[in-house]
């Protein structure tokens, strides 16, 4: 029983990291029908920026954090302006190939210009184990879960309550109708790309101490987040949240109780089952935005 609780907390804390990356997938797909295969690299690059600022240049944590988010959102902005804007007319497959290319470009670019080695990143929160009765878990896990939950909640409020958020929902439902209602669709799409890279930038700070900083960390992370988005539901923020947590839990529990070698296979089997039984995802809703 104590094992189970420990595993649940561990799985939850991994899962919520997948969630914050997965939410970006959902936002991009909803507003611009972009499947971003470079999503993992959008986490990897801010990680390296953070290492550069905080560890190499020895800037204080809060300053390097802010600059990282700034750099990350600039990256998202350029991504939309230079690539996606031109590719939107070409359809899904063209965007898939281009983002695959971008993913390789960023990955190997980082490997060549910086380092092929794994860099360590200091833990933001104390990893001091907390002990309640027999259950031992690291306080880092709890902090990750709490802070990312708050960020996701804020994002949810932004989309539901503010005018910009509502414009995003409108674009997601129908680009034509949104244009007729006087919404500048291209501006909203740019906003969503910046929002996505802010999320991945924040995600990077939390992912870095857990997954370590390496040029190819984005591959697994991006794929897991993508799977999480589909399992949870591609049209809901809470879908991405539920999906990420499910993937994290299934992975951790399957590895502990069933088979380490087939850990990834269980996620895939879950994915196939979800697609067969409830293709709109665990928390997804058919034909409705966000």
């Amino acid at each position: 029983m104590t094992d189970l609780i420990q595993l649940l907390i561990g799985g939850l804390s991994i899962g919520i990291l997948y969630s914050i990356v997965a939410i970006g997938f959902v936002l991009l797909w909803q507003t611009s029908q972009t499947i971003n295969f470079a999503q993992g690299e959008f986490v990897m690059v801010p990680m390296f920026v953070m290492v550069g600022l905080h560890i190499v240049l020895k800037l204080p944590f809060w300053l390097s954090f802010l600059l990282t988010i700034l750099a990350s959102s600039l990256m998202g902005y350029l991504f939309e302006k230079l690539m996606i804007k031109r590719l939107l007319a070409g359809g899904v497959i063209v965007i898939v190939i281009a983002t695959l290319g971008l993913s390789a470009f960023l990955r190997y670019g980082m490997q060549i210009t910086w380092t092929p080695l794994t860099l360590f990143f200091p833990h933001i929160f104390s990893t001091e184990p907390i002990k309640i009765r027999n259950v031992v878990f690291s306080s880092e896990d709890i902090w990750n879960i709490v802070i990312i939950s708050i960020i996701i909640l804020l994002l949810h409020l932004f989309i539901k309550r503010t005018k910009l958020g509502k414009a995003m929902q409108a674009v997601a439902q129908s680009r034509e109708t949104a244009t007729l209602m006087g919404i500048n669709v291209m501006q909203i799409i740019t906003l969503v790309f910046v929002l996505n890279s802010i999320l991945t930038g924040i995600g990077a700070i939390f992912v870095a101490p857990v997954f370590f900083v390496r040029y190819d960390v984005g591959v697994q992370l991006g794929l897991k987040a993508f799977i999480a988005a589909v399992i949870g539901g591609f049209n809901q923020i809470r879908g991405a949240l539920a999906g990420g947590i499910t993937v994290g839990l299934v992975e951790t529990l399957a590895a502990a109780y069933i088979s380490t070698a087939y850990r990834d296979a269980f996620t895939m089997i879950l994915l196939l089952l979800i697609l067969l039984i409830k293709p709109e995802g665990i928390a997804g809703i058919r034909e409705e935005a966000y």
């Binding site: 797909w29 029908q33 499947i35 690539m83 031109r86 590719l87 070409g90 899904v92 497959i93 063209v94 898939v96 190939i97 281009a98 695959l100 290319g101 971008l102 993913s103 390789a104 470009f105 190997y108 670019g109 060549i112 794929l223 993508f226 799977i227 589909v230 591609f234 070698a261 087939y262 990834d264 296979a265 895939m268 089997i269 994915l271 196939l272 697609l275 293709p279």
Partner: protein
């Protein structure tokens, strides 16, 4: 085609391909042989993706199924010629199964289901040691012979591959010009309209996957004796991305597309190796640029050349 003249440029290319192996170093010949295998695979994917419009990101898994079928059978003393059609059929069987999700889902769902299948397939190849030899794979896969004629040397095996490439091109032209091909294109362009004209889109989507997988199985089966050694690393979902890239870079829905794409994507990195450490960066940058400025693929360049050079004008667009 304008009579026999339409085939002339193709004939010139084939004659060139027949002469060229005698002048190549062993490694270059291997790369050329490998790109021939990739042409067969890309032609298959072009039918699924380019003509029928169904995203398939598990082409490498189908190839793996073919390669392992041949690898296992040949090392257990069966004839290669028996394993070749069987490899195609087994891959075709799995292709049909993967086709079922395509009836219901599109775009990112289909992309994901197929990636999922590729990952599960890879894990099976890696873990089921009794069948596949695990991460070490299968070695000592001998090359076949036709009667008394042994195809053990690299050059003779190259000719066998060339024969199958020509067969693959001709058969794909035949499929595309048939009723099936027209149905595929109708589904890609407008599924609803196709249905209302009596095209059963369910059957044809399954068929598109089955045909694509069949080519992949045959390609895999030919791949195994080429290397004489196979392991799961050749059949990851990254390899599936490569095949997707070949088809799109070459030009989806065109006969020449996958041929150009397979040649460029297989040989390009080898040529770029002069850039040493930077070659992957340059490679991915070129990929992005082609998508930005040549969305229809490199066949567009060939079309342009055709307008400038009169001899090439003979081939059909």
């Amino acid at each position: 085609m304008k009579g026999w003249k339409g085939w002339l440029p193709w004939g010139v290319v084939i004659v060139l391909l027949c002469i060229v192996p005698w002048f190549l170093k062993a490694y270059t010949l291997f790369i050329l042989s490998f790109s021939l295998v990739n042409i067969i695979l890309a032609i298959g994917l072009n039918i699924t993706l380019g003509y029928a419009g169904q995203i398939s990101l598990c082409h490498a898994a189908f190839m793996g199924i073919g390669a392992y079928t041949t690898g296992i059978m040949v090392t257990h003393g069966w004839s290669f010629w028996l394993s070749l059609p069987l490899a195609g059929l087994i891959a075709c069987f799995f292709g049909t199964i993967i086709g079922f999700p395509a009836i219901k889902w599109k775009d990112h769902y289909l992309a994901l289901v197929t990636i999922g299948f590729n990952i599960v397939g890879y894990l099976v190849m890696q873990q089921e040691k009794w069948l596949t030899g695990g991460p070490h794979g299968i070695s000592n896969i001998s090359r076949p012979s036709i009667g008394p004629l042994k195809l053990a040397s690299a050059v003779s095996y190259y000719y066998l591959l060339l024969f199958f490439v020509i067969l693959a091109i001709l058969s794909s032209v035949w499929i595309i010009k048939s009723k099936w091909g027209r149905a595929f294109m109708a589904i890609r362009l407008n599924e609803l309209a196709a249905k209302s004209h009596g095209v059963c889109s369910h059957h044809y989507k399954l068929l598109a996957f089955a045909i694509g997988a069949f080519y992949a199985g045959i390609g895999g089966s030919l791949f195994a004796p080429l290397l004489k050694y196979i392991n799961p690393e050749s059949f990851t979902f990254f390899a599936s991305f490569e095949y997707l890239i070949m088809v799109v870079i070459g030009g989806m829905g065109r006969i020449e597309g996958p041929i150009i794409g397979a040649l460029i994507i297989t040989m390009g990195p080898e040529i770029l190796r002069v850039a040493e450490a930077f070659y992957l960066i340059i490679y991915s940058l070129i990929l992005i640029l082609i998508m930005l400025f040549l969305r229809k693929g490199l066949v567009v360049v060939v079309d342009r050349l055709r307008e400038w050079i009169p001899v090439l004008r003979l081939t059909k667009r």
